[in-house]
Subunit: 225 residues, 2 copies
């Protein structure tokens, strides 16, 4: 029996790297898809390539150039990434780092690739517990996009195409624990929204990550060398 094929949306961050290791552990033959969209932390794309190469999985990288994405502070060079408290981060407000339609675009591109290569599943790393209030990270959104993909692609109509979000209901602490169990090379992953040489420690992503590692009692090799 040949193994099932999965397209893993892979940014090189903690969550999507854990997803990739999860899918490999489940027996999927994985191909990764990394999307550059002008994000200031393009360093995550390097992390993705490094991890995919280490695993020997087939990588797909595409670059999008949509000028209007600069309305997001994660893309616009003249904007500042906010420094919020963890309480504000998880308050449900949509912050300036929200990128318009990002996960919808990512999933559509993944569906297109999955359709072209006759994959069985798409794996993505949204999380509705410890997240920044982005509307495109909720279970209802992912479920509905999954339905659309199965209605609107050849592979979906003729075979079925699963959209899997294994981290959806996990806390960041549980994601770190899962990653540790699966052997994720945390030191190679990149989460910081700012694109410096070392994580800034102040952005939403750094704060959520730090709390996750602290509560899991796991050392984060990317910041503690």
């Amino acid at each position: 029996m040949t193994s099932k094929k999965a397209i893993v949306l892979f940014s090189g961050g903690l969550d999507s790297t854990t997803c990739l290791y999860w899918a490999l552990d489940k027996g999927y033959t994985c191909e990764t898809l990394t999307v550059s969209y002008g994000q200031r932390h393009a360093r995550e794309v390097q992390a993705a390539q490094q991890i995919a190469s280490k695993l020997g999985v087939k990588q797909h990288s595409v670059a999008l150039n949509f000028p209007w994405l600069s309305t997001s502070s994660l893309v616009g060079k003249d904007q500042v990434i906010p420094d919020q408290s963890l309480a504000d981060i998880t308050s449900g407000q949509i912050p300036s780092t929200y990128v318009p339609g990002r996960n919808l675009i990512f999933l559509s591109v993944a569906a297109s690739l999955a359709d072209a290569v006759s994959a069985d599943a798409i794996v993505a790393g949204p999380n509705a517990i410890d997240f920044s209030g982005y509307p495109d990270c909720t279970p209802a959104f992912f479920e509905t996009v999954g339905k659309a993909i199965n209605l609107g692609t050849k592979r979906g109509v003729q075979h079925g195409l699963e959209v899997l979000a294994p981290l959806m209901h996990l806390s960041k602490t549980d994601i770190v624990k899962l990653g540790a169990k699966l052997g994720v090379p945390f030191e190679l992953t990149w989460s910081c929204y700012n694109g410096g040489d070392t994580p800034c420690g102040h952005c939403d992503s750094c704060k959520l990550r730090a709390r996750g590692f602290a509560e899991a009692g796991v050392k984060d090799g990317s910041v503690e060398k």
Copy 2:
């Protein structure tokens, strides 16, 4: 009262040009979005620019470079556009011109733009009557993507974002009649899948268009100079 804003997915073909004129007639302030994806009939992009300029509407153009789209005969340079009978075209089989995930990607990019510029609606020209059996042109698919867009974008969640497909249930003949009523400059539109100087007359798109004009009793200025 300010007019509502619509993003019109606009290829420069007969259907999307009729959509643009329909949306303007409905009172929307329109911005067009034209997507290049390596299609061999890139000539349609020129048509789109010409028509949008004539109307004085704001144009957005983006180019996608996804290598796997060359599995479609509409993109792959080493493939041949099929010459099928109208009966075969409308048989419900998915032909080689199907582009994996095309409408899902188009609608996602439109949703992203609509989100960034705070639009009220997205207008697209799918048609489920005289079409080539593409799964991404059905009412069920469009309805489901509309739900996903309203769940997964800031604009959708906070305000609502309509996804309108005014041609969905019209025959090609009715589309020609509607276009004629709205003053669509048919001679500027481009439908042919092959990218020559004049329409080939043999591809699915040419055949469906020719039948539509013939049955509507309207002269097609793009082929009859």
